[in-house]
């Protein structure tokens, strides 16, 4: 048994844990960051093949999914599992929390402090440290430009994204870790700051339980993998416990520790931003991987609860989305250079739940609301029509096993008849499973991230986001973590 002590133990080293840990360490507190995944340097990641990245830094080697309940698709979920967490694997897209979302937080969740003005200094600080910059039009891939041309004919806009990058030359490999070290993930900024201020990181350490005593969190325990691969038990005593393990694993840890019984809200209200992609074949060469992976988005159909955003996943993944097998499949793959791709996500209502599963991983279920389900055909329709307007010859729909369709076939298809189980649906944004609120009956934690039923236990990751955002959540998560960390620093640590 290894035993360690710290003022604060932070579980998770991703976008939220890294931000908070740097604040605590710079304020003079002793900080131990515990990360389940391995330490991989930016140089290591840049030298990895995609399969090695999946093996070493993706959670569950991409075999993680939320099981669809009722008329809902199975949703493949991508999450990071390494020092730096999912920030290492994102497309780098950063949005401030939309004003209309904050209004819902204030009006419906009664989180009255959450205004644009209140969050402004936190936004600015994150933007400065992570070098969040607008993607220039010159960095748009031809895949994105074509969609934009078609969308313009439909009267839709295309707005440049902002991303946390420095010196990105665009190669659409972001999801496997930046091959050039250009993405400013937290392992390149907040974590080095935390370490410089004295924080320590314990990697390859799975936390299995939050330790409690007399109604207070007093540490965590788990298993750490040594250099020889053997696992040893580890116990960390801390005056404050901060959970930042992400929207799927923070509630799991709380449930395993018997926390949240008072509110009964832990693990509920999970939102995922169910995402869909559309591929189109053009006569001209597109080479969609040349350019920023996610450079622009359209807000035109926000009132339909959908955000359309450019995405061009690495070529091998593009090919895997093609229907068929054997010669027919390979001939479709031979058209790789002619494929364009664009994506969309639903600003969903929730309906997901995290439960304890039989093993280490959570059991995730997702019941799509009727309104969200009705948005799926609209996403597919908008995505496809824009490419057809730009001159696409064929569309490859996000329907499992569906042969490519011609423009006429697409326009006469009844997309509402596609069974949910055949939808190819993915998510990268598990949110809301320990949501903030003003009382225990509707939330797992209060507006400053403190658990309702345990003193000195705080949650600061994506699980606290009270509603889905409709946009990529990275900047919101970092901003909330920064705010909650500063609030925590205002609260004196208890005696050891």
């Amino acid at each position: 048994m290894i035993t360690r002590s710290a003022d604060v133990v932070v579980v998770g080293s991703g976008a939220s844990g890294a931000v908070a840990a740097s604040q605590f360490a710079e304020a003079g507190q002793s900080v131990l960051i515990v990360e389940e995944g391995p330490w991989v340097t930016s140089k290591d990641i840049s030298a990895m093949r995609p399969s090695e990245s999946i093996e070493k830094v993706w959670r569950g080697a991409a075999m993680t999914a939320a099981i669809g309940v009722g008329d809902s698709p199975i949703i493949n979920l991508t999450m990071g599992r390494c020092v730096g967490g999912s920030s290492v694997l994102t497309g780098g897209v950063c949005f401030r929390t939309p004003g209309h979302v904050l209004k819902v937080w204030r009006d419906e969740r009664r989180l009255t402090e959450y205004t644009d003005e209140h969050l402004e200094p936190y936004y600015q600080e994150i933007e400065r440290i992570c070098n969040i910059e607008e993607v220039p039009v010159s960095m748009r891939s031809k895949s994105t430009t074509l969609w934009g041309l078609g969308a313009a004919k439909m009267g839709a806009n295309l707005v440049s994204n902002k991303r946390n990058t420095k010196g990105c030359d665009g190669c659409s490999q972001c999801n496997f870790g930046c091959p050039k070290g250009a993405k400013q993930s937290v392992d390149l900024n907040f974590l080095p700051r935390a370490i410089a201020a004295g924080a320590e990181i314990l990697s390859d350490c799975e936390v299995t339980r939050v330790l409690t005593k007399g109604g207070r969190a007093v540490g965590v325990e788990g298993k750490v993998k040594g250099p020889d691969g053997r696992r040893s038990r580890v116990k960390v005593h801390a005056r404050r416990v901060v959970l930042a393990a992400g929207g799927a694993h923070t509630p799991l840890l709380m449930l395993k520790s018997g926390i949240g019984r008072r509110s009964k809200q832990v693990g509920r209200n999970l939102t995922l931003h169910p995402g869909f992609r559309m591929m189109a074949r053009f006569d001209d060469v597109v080479d969609g991987w040349k350019g920023a992976m996610q450079s622009a988005h359209s807000t035109t159909w926000e009132d339909e609860r959908i955000t359309l955003i450019s995405v061009y996943v690495p070529p091998a993944v593009v090919v895997s989305a093609l229907a068929g097998f054997g010669p027919e499949f390979m001939e479709r793959a031979d058209n790789l250079r002619h494929f364009a791709m664009f994506g969309g996500m639903i600003h969903d209502e929730g309906g997901g739940r995290i439960r304890r599963g039989p093993g280490r991983e959570p059991l995730m279920t997702y019941r799509m609301s009727k309104e969200d389900r009705a948005a799926v055909p609209n996403i597919i329709r908008r995505l496809g029509e824009a490419y057809l307007q730009a001159g696409a010859r064929e569309l490859y729909l996000p329907i499992l096993g569906h042969a490519p369709v011609s423009p006429d076939e697409f326009r006469t298809m009844d997309l509402t008849k596609v069974p949910a189980r055949r939808l190819e649906c993915t998510s990268q944004h598990p949110l809301g499973s320990c949501r903030m609120g003003d009382e225990p009956s509707n939330s797992a934690i209060d507006g400053n991230g403190k658990a309702w039923d345990l003193d000195q236990l705080y949650v600061i990751d994506g699980s606290i986001v009270p509603t889905s955002l409709g946009v990529n959540p990275q900047q919101t998560i970092m901003t909330l973590a920064l705010r909650q960390a500063r609030r925590m620093l205002d609260q004196p640590l208890p005696e050891a």
Binding site: S51, G60, F325, E361, R422
Partner: protein, 181 residues
């Protein structure tokens, strides 16, 4: 020798080559069979050396999968092996089917309620397969933006064969000590 469709015979999977794999287990045979169908071209299936390379790489990835992800992976593969033949009214296992029947079985499976299981497998296999520079080049991906050392680490078929030969002789192939280390 080809079958009536002009493709090579149904037992493309060279049992001998499979048995030479470092860990000749049922699930690797299924990966081999799946890869032989998935990546076949009109001229025929990929070479055994390339398929063995695929199996080795997938096995490497699988070693890091623990608990539920590993269970999902194996269950998906088992479902393909057992359920896919039933969808075309044939008896399992999948790897014993004729080529065109295998294609039809996979297509049915992909369109069924189990489609997402196959989608995950297909993604893993494609990611590995098209890491091979020759396969990537064949579909037009120049890999220019990839770190050059990444591409250099993928051995050629000749190198793989020499490694296998060297292993048979209990030795190490010259110049390949760093491969997949």
């Amino acid at each position: 020798m080809t079958d009536e469709t002009g493709y090579a015979p149904p037992h493309w999977v060279d049992r001998g080559a499979i048995d030479d794999l470092p860990a000749p287990r049922g699930w690797l045979r299924n990966i081999h069979a799946l890869g032989a169908v998935m990546f076949a071209r009109r001229e025929g299936p990929p070479s055994d050396a390339r398929l063995n390379w695929l199996c080795r790489e997938v096995e490497r990835m699988n070693r890091s999968m623990k608990g539920q992800p590993n269970l999902v992976f194996r269950a998906s593969l088992l479902a393909v092996s057992v359920v896919a033949p039933l969808l075309v009214l044939r008896l399992p296992p999948f790897r014993r089917l004729r080529f065109e029947t295998r294609v039809r079985a996979l297509e049915r499976f992909e369109r069924s309620i189990f489609g997402m299981m196959l989608f995950a497998l297909k993604a893993i296999l494609c990611i590995v397969w098209f890491e091979h520079p020759e396969e990537a080049k064949a579909i037009g991906f120049d890999g220019q933006c990839m770190n050059s050392s990444v591409v250099a680490e993928v051995p050629s078929d000749e190198a793989l064969l020499s490694v296998e030969a060297a292993a048979d002789n209990g030795g190490v192939a010259p110049g390949l000590s760093g491969v997949n280390s």
